[in-house]
């Protein structure tokens, strides 16, 4: 009894001490930045216009007079530009997620039903592109889609078209890029879910005379709902704030919040407004993020 107490105490003690390092790291480099971004979003935009001196001005001024303004947020709500961008980002992320699901589900379903030795190889084929640089994979599409690109050259040479199609620098290319980049994120959780499904249930339903489609709709689909949700959120959440894909494949009119935020920051150099845009984006993402963490926690508890 005595030794047991001392033993676990000793272990807990050193772990506690050791934990201080990552804990402080995360407080300083993860939590503190958010406090700062919220503070800046409440700062006076006029004072803070040239970014560097601005922040110094603001912190010095902040010591003398604690002044909080909601002007940046009001600005966001008054200017329909931002509402349109937020809604459009949500729309584009949602459509991309749906497309990922439509393509990813059959693939995950197929892999889950292969013999074990094939499964790992097929999965490796899905995971490998994920390890290859995201940026380079998006870049690869430029060569395929551009007006003198591979696809247009091919279609021209076989005579289907006589003018190059405009496949790039539009919303279509952005959807394509998002589906392409995030497809593995959809397939992997779906596969993990479908692989654990009880095949007997499907067989039983089929034995009882159910049509294949009915078996799928009534048995397989409801049982794979947690995989569908996990995969969809893993695509939807990062897609909303995506910057690289609209920057490389979209047009100047492609309205996505990640891009607007980048421009607000680097081109307009309006840091308080950029901060307010970030805070609102985070608020939009809080619900899907919490939902995702709940699903994760349930799966960890379940397995």
């Amino acid at each position: 009894m005595f030794t047991k107490l001392r033993r676990s105490d000793g272990r807990r003690q050193w772990l506690r001490t050791a934990l201080a390092v990552p804990y402080l790291w995360l407080l300083l480099f993860f939590l503190a930045p958010f406090v700062i971004i919220v503070k800046i979003s409440l700062a006076d935009p006029l004072v803070a216009v040239p970014p560097f001196t601005a922040l110094i001005d603001w912190t010095q001024a902040g010591l003398e007079r604690i002044q909080v303004t909601l002007d940046n947020y009001l600005f966001l709500f008054r200017d329909p530009y931002y509402a349109v961008i937020y809604l459009n980002s949500i729309k584009m992320a949602a459509i991309s997620t749906l497309l990922c699901l439509l393509l990813g589900y059959p693939i995950a379903y197929f892999i889950a039903r292969q013999p074990a030795r094939w499964r790992n190889l097929l999965l490796l084929g899905i995971i490998l592109p994920f390890w290859i640089s995201f940026l380079l994979r998006v870049y690869a599409w430029i060569g395929l889609l551009s007006s003198k690109g591979l696809i247009n050259n091919f279609l021209l040479s076989i005579g289907i078209i006589d003018q190059p199609l405009s496949l790039i620098y539009n919303d279509f290319a952005v959807y394509l890029g998002i589906v392409y980049s995030y497809l593995p994120f959809m397939i992997l959780p779906l596969y993990a879910n479908l692989e654990r499904l009880d095949l007997d249930l499907q067989d039983a339903a089929a034995d009882l005379g159910a049509r294949r489609w009915r078996v799928f709709v009534d048995v397989t689909l409801p049982l794979s709902m947690s995989g569908i949700l996990a995969g969809s959120l893993l695509v939807f959440i990062p897609a909303i704030g995506e910057y690289i894909i609209p920057a490389l494949l979209g047009s100047a009119d492609t309205l996505m919040i990640g891009r607007a935020l980048w421009d607000e920051f680097f081109i307009n150099r309006d840091w308080p407004v950029a901060s307010a845009v970030s805070v609102v984006l985070l608020l939009i993402l809080v619900l899907p993020m919490m939902w995702f963490q709940k699903i994760q926690a349930r799966q960890e508890g379940g397995s």
Binding site: P22, I37, L55, L124, G241, I244, W262
Partner: protein
């Protein structure tokens, strides 16, 4: 499975894999193209690889990226493993909820917000305590470590939750000091997860454009930042060659890792 349906499924799957690989293969193919017009085939050539080796800009950016990635991966593995151990072994403790939140949020945080907020932090710190004096490799490493330690901790936690504590308990009963037990028993048991975490952190760091663009300063350009600034203007043949080199290295790395973990799994099953 009835034949027509299985044929439909098979063709969707085939389309899916083609969709994933055709763009990658096309980059590799055109990297050997002699023509400067990247989409017209002008014969086989290695000139873009030679151009790559002669480009100081690309080589120094690659060196910076590799340094940042190696330090990031090592820091993230140490910090992420400690976090995973604490969350898995300490039970309830004060600040646990906050720690869980801080360690899982980076997984779903938009990169652009992580980038902006960390830049604000670095600027504020520079005002208050004079550090960091200039932004560059150090600030990029800190930023990358912060988000990749979350990934490491997820991987290590899943390994820990499948592990039996009795071996550690026995070692402690036999009078082993906590640190000794940790390095002799715990670390070997979770080593595969730590290696996987290190590799993932290394890759994530090597891949990041957005966060690095915010927290870097003048004079520190990582390889992805350089590639991004070049490809914004369209396809360039030397980037095709660079992409091919990266694709080949990553593929070899992933295949090796897959073989190693497979060997690890089977030896685990035997013991």
């Amino acid at each position: 499975m009835s034949r027509p349906r299985s044929r439909t499924l098979l063709s969707i799957v085939a389309f899916g894999y083609a969709f994933l690989y055709v763009p990658i293969l096309s980059v590799i193919f055109y990297s050997f193209n002699d023509s400067r017009l990247v989409t017209l085939w002008g014969g086989f050539s290695l000139r873009w690889y030679r151009a790559l080796l002669e480009s100081d800009e690309i080589l120094s950016a690659a060196l910076l990226s590799l340094q940042v990635a190696a330090v990031t991966a090592t820091l993230a593995t140490v910090l992420g493993t400690l976090t995973a151990l604490a969350l898995n072994r300490l039970g309830r403790f004060r600040g646990r909820t906050l720690l869980t939140g801080m360690v899982t949020s980076p997984l779903v945080m938009p990169e652009i917000i992580t980038g902006i907020s960390l830049l604000f932090l670095f600027i504020s710190l520079a005002e208050w305590i004079g550090w960091p004096g200039s932004r560059g490799a150090t600030t990029i490493t800190i930023a990358h470590t912060t988000f990749s330690l979350a990934y490491v901790s997820v991987i290590v936690r899943s390994r820990l939750s499948g592990m039996n504590e009795s071996l550690e308990d026995a070692a402690m009963d036999l009078g082993g000091r906590p640190l000794r037990v940790f390095f002799d028993i715990t670390v070997p048991a979770i080593a595969p997860a730590m290696v996987a975490g290190w590799l993932l952190a290394f890759t994530l760091s090597l891949d990041d454009v957005v966060i690095a663009s915010f927290v870097s300063g003048p004079g520190a350009t990582t390889l992805p930042m350089l590639i991004f600034s070049k490809v914004k203007l369209g396809v360039t043949p030397d980037i095709n060659a660079l992409a091919t080199v990266i694709i080949v290295l990553v593929t070899l790395g992933v295949l090796t890792a897959a073989l190693v973990t497979r060997a690890g799994h089977s030896s685990q099953r035997e013991s």
